[in-house]
């Protein structure tokens, strides 16, 4: 049996942290892109589009992320689509992230007074011009804080990718535990690393919230 020094444990965990960060970023970018598209579609007054998005949001908010990952990973392979753990993790985290972001962003747009739309319409602006010049600049200011806050959930969500065999922080933690039989040490370190990733973000989110609330 190989001996692991504390240094070895930490080195391996930090190396794996890169994958956690990478997966989080990929999920966040993928999720934001999908959510942005859905948010824009939602602003059109099309009832069918609304119900479809509603269904999408309910589906992915109403089922455990782990089940979504299983379905992406095992389900897709059973249907004959070969998908890597990495691909399945990104795909399911993108669904998950977008389902929450689209709700958060819709809320931000809804907080803007209806008068902003009406005044813009009365000045002859088109729907896209209203979005671009009036609604988005204001909604983004409101949205930044809750969006950054939600990114913490995404980072923690990536831990589930360990279950389908994607080697990130949690997975390496389990592997090290199996090799060292020192669960307390290993998982404490894992927890600390997650905390160091997440805490600055939630702190930043609070700062942003204060900043934007103060100026309005």
């Amino acid at each position: 049996m190989i001996e692991f020094s504390n240094y070895d444990i930490l080195r391996n965990l930090l190396f794996a942290t890169q994958w956690t960060i990478l997966l989080s970023l990929a999920a966040f970018i993928g999720g934001s892109s999908v959510a942005l598209t859905l948010t824009a579609l939602r602003l059109t007054r099309n009832k069918v589009v609304h119900s479809l998005i509603r269904g999408y949001v309910e589906l992915f908010q109403g089922t455990p992320l782990l089940m979504q990952m299983f379905l992406c990973f095992f389900g897709l392979s059973m249907l004959g689509y070969e998908i890597s753990a990495w691909g399945a993790a990104i795909l399911s985290l993108t669904f998950f992230t977008s389902a929450f972001l689209v709700e958060i962003w819709r809320g931000c747009i809804d907080t803007l007074p209806k008068g902003q739309w009406e005044a813009s319409r009365c000045l002859g602006m088109s729907f896209l011009q209203i979005l671009r010049y009036i609604i988005l600049p204001q909604a983004i200011r409101v949205a930044v804080a809750p969006t950054v806050g939600f990114s913490v959930q995404v980072i923690k969500g990536t831990a589930l990718a360990s279950v389908i065999g994607f080697v990130e922080l949690t997975k390496v933690g389990t592997m090290l535990n199996n090799a060292t039989f020192e669960p307390f040490k290993v998982f404490t370190l894992v927890a600390i690393i997650y905390f160091l990733l997440c805490y600055p973000l939630s702190l930043y989110s609070k700062v942003l919230e204060k900043k934007f609330n103060g100026s309005r």
Partner: protein
């Protein structure tokens, strides 16, 4: 043909019959005050005139253009009809100057220097020339409403719709806004106001339209109508507000 023509306009909110066959003709240069209790349909009437609200029967023609809520029509109409709201509805993330310049730049496609020239001239007109670079939140309610007027004027409208534009203001700020309106009236601007300012309606307005239960209950020359109301409803209304 009159500048604003309403022909038997009916509007429903679901089962609620809000406007019950409104006929109204407003000529260029007229200052018309629409008065009435809340719920009488006066704001709805105004909002139908520029396509913010849909009406179900009848027809509205403004400046020769049929009014509908179709996006393209509303945009066309915005060239002739300006609107000012109770809550100002300035764009809070833009300076006063940017608020006024935006629509002339992106809707009328005027070059920036031209839009800025117009914006400065309009601000001067409402007495706020020095506020070009201020943000709306730094201004008083009366100043914000004057900016909103300048913003509407920058589109060079043929008629201005004013929806209770002094109702959200502190009493001491009402005067400065009414003064701007009075000046506009003198210059020949067509104004249609939903208002509770009876003195303004009498002194500056040419005509008063009294709405009651979704109908034009009584209308006529402002002096005559307000000093000598014919219907009991108008008598009661005037008694209540004066």
């Amino acid at each position: 043909m009159a500048l604003v023509n309403l022909d038997q306009v009916h509007k429903y909110y679901g089962d609620l019959h809000v406007l019950k066959g409104i006929d109204l003709k407003i000529n260029k240069g007229e200052v018309v005050s629409v008065i009435g209790r809340s719920g009488s349909g006066k704001s709805t009437l105004l909002r139908c005139m520029n396509g913010l609200e849909q009406y179900q029967e009848g027809g509205i023609v403004v400046d020769g253009k049929e009014v509908t809520t179709e996006d393209i029509q509303v945009r066309q109409l915005a060239m002739s009809v300006g609107m000012i709201f109770q809550n100002f509805n300035l764009f809070p993330h833009m300076t006063v100057g940017e608020n006024i310049m935006l629509a002339p730049t992106i809707v009328l496609k005027k070059p920036k220097y031209e839009a800025e020239r117009i914006a400065r001239a309009m601000l001067e007109k409402v007495g706020l020339g020095e506020k070009f670079d201020s943000y709306p939140e730094k201004l008083s309610g009366g100043q914000q409403q004057r900016v909103a007027i300048a913003r509407a004027l920058a589109m060079n409208p043929k008629v201005l719709l004013c929806d209770e534009i002094t109702s959200a203001l502190d009493p001491e700020l009402v005067g400065e806004v009414l003064k701007v309106l009075e000046q506009l009236a003198k210059e020949g601007m067509t104004l249609i106001l939903v208002t509770h300012e009876m003195n303004f309606a009498r002194d500056v307005g040419n005509r008063v339209v009294f709405m009651h239960q979704g109908k034009v209950w009584e209308e006529g020359d402002s002096n005559t109508l307000l000093s000598n109301p014919q219907t009991d409803e108008l008598k009661q209304f005037i008694g209540a507000v004066l």
